[in-house]
C-alpha cells in the first residue's frame, strides 16, 4: 500500500502505452469500429480505409437498433452482468474475509473446496442446470443467468481475494478492534479499501466472460424478452448470408461496456496490475 508515489513522466508513459496498445493490439477492434460506419460494398472492397463521405453509412446501426430489438438486448446484458458482478464481488469478498480472518474447523479444506470449483467448468453441468431451472420455473428469466454466473464467478473471486486479504496485516485488524470497530466496520472500512485494486482486477476478470457468454443465454434464456446482446448479434450471422453491417455495428456497441469499465476501474486496475512491478 505504501508504493512510492509514481512520477509524472511514468504516469504519462503508462497512459502512452495504453494508447499505443489501443492502436496496435486492438487493431482488429478498430477494424470493426471503422467498418461499422461503412456501407456493405466498402467493407469488402477497402476494409482498411476510413469511412469517406461516399462510403459512410449508418445502415448497420440502423438495422441493429430497429430490427434487432437492440436496446432491450443491451439492457438485458447490462442487468445480468451488473447484478451477477455485484453478487460475486460482495459475496466473494465476504467469504474471502471469513476464510482469511477466522480460524474455524475445516477452514483450509473449505478454501480447497472453493478452489476446486474454479477448475471444474460449470458448462459440464449444463444439462443438470437446465433440469434444475426447469424444475424451479426459471427458464427464460434473467434470474437464471444471474444465478449461474454468480455460482460460476464466486470461486475464482474468493480464491484471489482470500490471498489478498490474508496479506492485510493481522495487527491492523487487531488495532481496529481496539479502536472499537466491529467486524463489519473492519471489513468495510479497513480491509475493503486495502484490497480495492484486487477487487477491480477480479471485477474485470469476472465481468468480461459474463458479458461475452453465448452458451448459457442460448440454453437458459433464448426468449426474445431476455436475450442478451451477444446472443442478439448472432441473429445477423446466418448460415449462408451474413449481414456484415449489422454484425459490425452490434460488435461495436458491445465494446462500449469495456470502455466504460476502463474509465471506471482504470486507476485501481493500473495500481493493482503494476503493484508488483513498482513495489
Amino acid at each position: 500500500m505504501n508504493s512510492a508515489r509514481r512520477s509524472l513522466p511514468s504516469e504519462f508513459a503508462a497512459h502512452g502505452i495504453l494508447i499505443a496498445y489501443t492502436v496496435i493490439a486492438l487493431f482488429p477492434v478498430l477494424l470493426i469500429l471503422i467498418n461499422s460506419f461503412k456501407d456493405r460494398r466498402s467493407i469488402f472492397q477497402a476494409p482498411l480505409a476510413l469511412p469517406s463521405l461516399e462510403s459512410f453509412s449508418l445502415i448497420g446501426y440502423a438495422t441493429v437498433l430497429e430490427q434487432g430489438n437492440f436496446t432491450l438486448y443491451f439492457f438485458n446484458s447490462f442487468v445480468v452482468t451488473v447484478v451477477a458482478l455485484a453478487l460475486v464481488l460482495i459475496l466473494g469478498a465476504m467469504a474471502a474475509f471469513a476464510l482469511a480472518e477466522y480460524r474455524f474447523p475445516f477452514n483450509p479444506l473449505l478454501g480447497l473446496y472453493l478452489a476446486i470449483g474454479i477448475m471444474i467448468p460449470i458448462r459440464l453441468g449444463t444439462v443438470g442446470i437446465l433440469e434444475m431451472m426447469v424444475a424451479t420455473n426459471l427458464v427464460n428469466t434473467r434470474t437464471a443467468l444471474v444465478l449461474v454466473y454468480t455460482a460460476n464467478g464466486l470461486p475464482l473471486c474468493v480464491f484471489i481475494l482470500t490471498e489478498f486479504m490474508r496479506n492485510v496485516s493481522k495487527d491492523l485488524k487487531d488495532a481496529a478492534r481496539i479502536d472499537g470497530l466491529n467486524e463489519y466496520t473492519i471489513f468495510f472500512r479497513i480491509v475493503l479499501p486495502l484490497v480495492r485494486p484486487a477487487m477491480a482486477t477480479v471485477a474485470v476478470f469476472t465481468m468480461i466472460p459474463i458479458w461475452n457468454d453465448l452458451w448459457f443465454p442460448l440454453i437458459l434464456a433464448p426468449g426474445e424478452a431476455v436475450k442478451t446482446i451477444t446472443l442478439g448479434t448472432q441473429v445477423f450471422i446466418g448460415q449462408f448470408v451474413t449481414n456484415w453491417n449489422a454484425v459490425l455495428a452490434g460488435l461495436s456497441l458491445a465494446i462500449l461496456p469495456v470502455l466504460v469499465l476502463y474509465l471506471v476501474f482504470s486507476k485501481q486496475l493500473i495500481r493493482g496490475i503494476t503493484s508488483g512491478a513498482v513495489k
Partner: protein, 355 residues
C-alpha cells in the same frame, strides 16, 4: 486507578497449553516487562489482557473490575504493535481520531487530545501525512500517539522496537521511558530482548513455556536469578555454567577435576550447577588457578574482550577481560573466581540454592 490483576490465566490451543496458570498483580503506574524467548506465551498473555484472545480459564481485572466479558475497546487499554499497524489510507490525524470517533467522543475533545499527543511526541508538523510518507521511527511514534489519545488506564506494548534499526531502537526506547515518567500510566511491555527489559522495567516477568519463572526488579533478576533459565536469559554475554558437586561448605568439586572455593556455599548441597557471569572470572596464575582453559577465540570489543576458553573437560566458557589483556590463541590461562561471583543452582531442580 489502573491496577491490573491476572488470576490463574490458562490458555490452550487444542491440546497445547501455552499459558499454564499465570498469576500477576501490577500496580497503578508500574512499568512491567514480560520477557521471554519466542513461544513462551508472553504475547498471548498480552493479547488476552487486550481482549484480542479469550483465555481458556482465569480472570483479568483492571482497577478492581473484572473485564473478561468486555470487548477490547471498552477495557480502558491501548496497544502499540510491532508492525505499527497504522491505517494506511488515513493520515496521522485520522489514525488518531478513529478510535475516539468510534467511541462517540466530542469533536473538541478529540482535537484537544490530538494536540496534546502531538506535543508530547513532537509530531505536530506531520499530522496531515499518511503513514507511507513517514519513516520507521516516525511511524512507531504515531502508533504510540494513537495509544496516548485514548487516555488508557493501561498501555500495552507488543515488541514495539523489533522493526527498528539499532540507532532508532535506542532513541524510541528512550522516548518510551520518558513517556512513562511523564504520563505515570500503567504499562505492560512484551519483548524478547533482555536489554530492553532491563533498561525500561520497574519489574520484569520472565516467562518460559507458559510459566512465570521469576518476577522482580532488574537488579533482583540480575543479582539473584531464581533458576537456571533466568540466569541464562538475563545478561549478555550469557552466564557460564559449570557442573559440580558440593560435598562440603565453601568448596565445590568440579565434575571433571578441579575444585572451586565458593564463599556463597554454607552447607553441603549435592550435585550443583555453578553459574558465573563472564565478568565473574579473573585471569590468574596458570599454576594455582582452580579452572584452566585454552583460548580458542578472542573477541575484541574496544573496551573489553571476550575470551572463549575451552576447559580441560571440553566445555566452553566466555570470560570478559579488559581490552588491554594480552593473550595468544591456544594459550592456556588460569581463572580465579571473583568474590560473590558464583550463583549456585540445584542440578536436578535447576532452582537457585538459597545460599
Amino acid at each position: 486507578m489502573a491496577q491490573l490483576k491476572i488470576d490463574n490465566v490458562v490458555k490452550s490451543f487444542g491440546k497445547t497449553e501455552v499459558l499454564k496458570g499465570v498469576d500477576l498483580a501490577i500496580a497503578d503506574g508500574e512499568f512491567v516487562v514480560l520477557l521471554g524467548p519466542s513461544g513462551c506465551g508472553k504475547s498471548t498473555l498480552l493479547r488476552i489482557i487486550a481482549g484480542l484472545e479469550d483465555q481458556s480459564s482465569g480472570r483479568i481485572s483492571i482497577g478492581g473490575e473484572v473485564i473478561d466479558h468486555l470487548p477490547p475497546a471498552k477495557r480502558g487499554i491501548a496497544m502499540v504493535f510491532q508492525s505499527y499497524a497504522l491505517y494506511p489510507h488515513l493520515d496521522v490525524r485520522g489514525n488518531w481520531a478513529l478510535g475516539l470517533k468510534q467511541a462517540g467522543t466530542a469533536k473538541e475533545v478529540i482535537d484537544q487530545r490530538i494536540k496534546e499527543a502531538a506535543r508530547i511526541l513532537e509530531l505536530g508538523a506531520l499530522l496531515e501525512r499518511r503513514p507511507s510518507e513517514l519513516s520507521g521511527g516516525q511511524r512507531q511514534r504515531v502508533a504510540i500517539g494513537r495509544a496516548i489519545v485514548r487516555h488508557p488506564g493501561v498501555f500495552l506494548f507488543d515488541e514495539p522496537l523489533s522493526n527498528l534499526d539499532a540507532a532508532l531502537r535506542a532513541q524510541v526506547r528512550f522516548e518510551i521511558g520518558r513517556l512513562h515518567k511523564d504520563l505515570g500510566a500503567t504499562m505492560v511491555y512484551v519483548t524478547h530482548d533482555q536489554v530492553e527489559a532491563m533498561t525500561l522495567a520497574d519489574r520484569i516477568v520472565v516467562m518460559h513455556q507458559g510459566v512465570v519463572q521469576q518476577v522482580g526488579s532488574p537488579a533482583d533478576l540480575y543479582q539473584r536469578p531464581a533458576n537456571l533459565f533466568v540466569a541464562g536469559f538475563i545478561g549478555s554475554p550469557k552466564m557460564n555454567f559449570l557442573q559440580g558437586r558440593a560435598a562440603e561448605a565453601g568448596r565445590i568439586d568440579l565434575a571433571r577435576g578441579g575444585a572451586l572455593p565458593v564463599a556463597e556455599l554454607d552447607r553441603p548441597a549435592g550435585d550443583v550447577v555453578i553459574g558465573v557471569r563472564p565478568d565473574g572470572f579473573a585471569v590468574g596464575s596458570n599454576e594455582t588457578a582452580p579452572v584452566r582453559g585454552k583460548v580458542v577465540l578472542n573477541e575484541y570489543l574496544g573496551r573489553e574482550s571476550y575470551l572463549h576458553l575451552e576447559l580441560e573437560e571440553g566445555s566452553r566458557i566466555v570470560v570478559e577481560v579488559p581490552a588491554e589483556t594480552v593473550v595468544r590463541l591456544d594459550e592456556v590461562v588460569g581463572l580465579d573466581l571473583k568474590p560473590k561471583a558464583a550463583h549456585l543452582f540445584d542440578a536436578s531442580t535447576e532452582q537457585r540454592l538459597a545460599a
